[in-house]
């Protein structure tokens, strides 16, 4: 199974079949970097601080621990992605964003330049369309070759 990173916005319930679709075509989501995936989880590195000052720990956990595309500069996002892509042997990126989401769309080229991995750029609609499924299939076929 080819390890892929799913990067971008949250999946809607109507998109929940996407990881299954990837698996059915010989891939697997080895890094869920969507907003609802591990990228969007707060980080609490200092257990003691939670007891000492839970409110401050929570603020730090969310403000410093969650990385997202809107942060300026957005270097944190790249710093977060870089080791995970390497450590998990990621061989391709599926960029998932919604129509008119300029923040993610604008980063597509930079993601390619920065990580030099094959990338499938999916402009999400209300559901997984047949054309989207075909593109996922073709992407994995290319990676398998």
């Amino acid at each position: 199974m080819i390890p892929l990173a799913l990067v971008g916005e949250s999946l809607l319930p109507s998109h929940f079949d996407l990881p299954g679709l990837i698996e059915a075509r010989g891939g697997r989501v080895a890094l869920d970097a969507t907003s609802d995936g591990e990228r969007g989880q707060p980080v609490f590195p200092d257990e003691a601080r939670i007891d000492e000052d839970p409110f401050a720990a929570m603020v730090d956990g969310y403000f410093d621990g969650v990385t997202d595309i809107f942060q300026r500069p957005n270097t944190r996002l790249y710093d977060w992605l870089r080791p995970r892509l390497t450590d998990r042997g990621i061989r391709g990126i599926v960029l998932w964003h919604y129509s008119w989401c300029d923040l993610w769309r604008a980063e597509a080229n930079r993601l390619r330049e920065e990580f030099r991995l094959p990338m499938l750029h999916l402009d999400a609609g209300d559901s997984l369309t047949p054309s989207m499924k075909t593109r996922v299939e073709a992407f994995l076929e290319i990676l398998h070759a």
Binding site: P73, E107, N109
Partner: protein, 461 residues
Amino acid sequence: MTAPPRKLRLEEWDARHASLVAGGLRESAYGGVLSRHVGERGDTRLRHLLFDNSAAALRLWNFLLTEEDRLREHRAAGRKLVGAMKDLGTVPVMAFALPDLVAFYPDGAWWTPCLMEHSDGLLEVADRLGIDDSFCPVRAMLGAFVTGSHFPIPDLLVCSAGAVCDDFSAIAQRLEPLGFPVFWWEIPRRRSPEPGESAGSLPGGLVVPECQIALARGELGRVCLALEELAGRPLDDAAFSAGIRAANLVRRLLRELRDLVFTAASSPLPALELLIAEMLAIHYCSDREETILVLEGLLAEAQARVAAGQGVLPADAARVFWVNPVADLRAMNLLEECGGRLCGTDFMFGHALVDIPEDLPPLDALARVALADPMIGSAQDRARLICAEMRRLGSEALVVSRIPGASHCCREGDIIRQIVRDNTGMPTLEIEVPPLGDALMPALRSRLLALVETVIGRRTL
């Protein structure tokens, strides 16, 4: 006033220029015939525009169209260039308060594809960088940075983040990996105070929580430190206050000019020149003192025309309040060709037109003005301000001009139009103007004609 007001084509301006010079016109170093900008800079769009025939308008156009030269001269003279992005009127007040700093808006490159009728290739460069035409035409700025063939690359780039257009923020962010580091500062989305929350007032009458003023003050304080570092000297309160007073002089001149143009029986200045004049408020076209002289000239011309009972448009022109600047300058001519005239504008920087309080500590005063930015609050807030201005000025209709791809434009038009209709009963129209609107001009003309017809028809009801 040197001749009865009328509008001229570019080729007519050469003869008019010769006649003005023969009559004793003294021009600034950047003066000359307008048509030279077509050959020297490739500003071919000028051939399709109609211009006011006054010497004051000639000076305005020459001042605008020579800004890149001026920036290079500043650099050659050892001054440092600050590229302010997005805040439209805030950071330059600080930068110009420091000697040897000059601020400008790289955002201004959004008009280059229009002026050069796409011969600049800036949008194609942006396309190649993954910023396609689903983004605002301000993406031309990206091309200008990469090619380096328009404005000089600034010594410091400053951009606001937070409550800003997503597309602009994405484009500015795209600059960083290309080797153009950006100093980011945050402007919060403006909100109303909660019950019992400590609040403060902004110029223009809005009220916000004190914590937002403190946040903006703190962020602008960081920008101030970066500017001081670039200038190699601190910005003391006396110099800062002097910068604010100079900014207020520009703003007062512009307010007086706008009110005269919007309310005179016959408009003493065309819409296109007014649009350009308003743009001077945000960064003084890289020369604050000259901006004051240019605006004083326009105001004197407008006053003389009004005193003589003259104007550039028929007295019965439909009085239109215009929202958002147009990517194609030709659209301003079109409004007037259709029988309309400007009677109020919101070109997205109302906060650059209000007085900066002079009785507050300078940083605090500037923070309050930054928070009065119409683009950082709700579209409802913006619409209410528009309604108040329409009533004050006697506007008869509203045009919301969408900027293609601009993230703020996808929903604000409906909201603003609905609130204006509900509150004023005025007819409203929403149009979209691309950087080169020739193909759309027939449709735009029909829509504007219909609006003007509606306005004229309502007068007899």
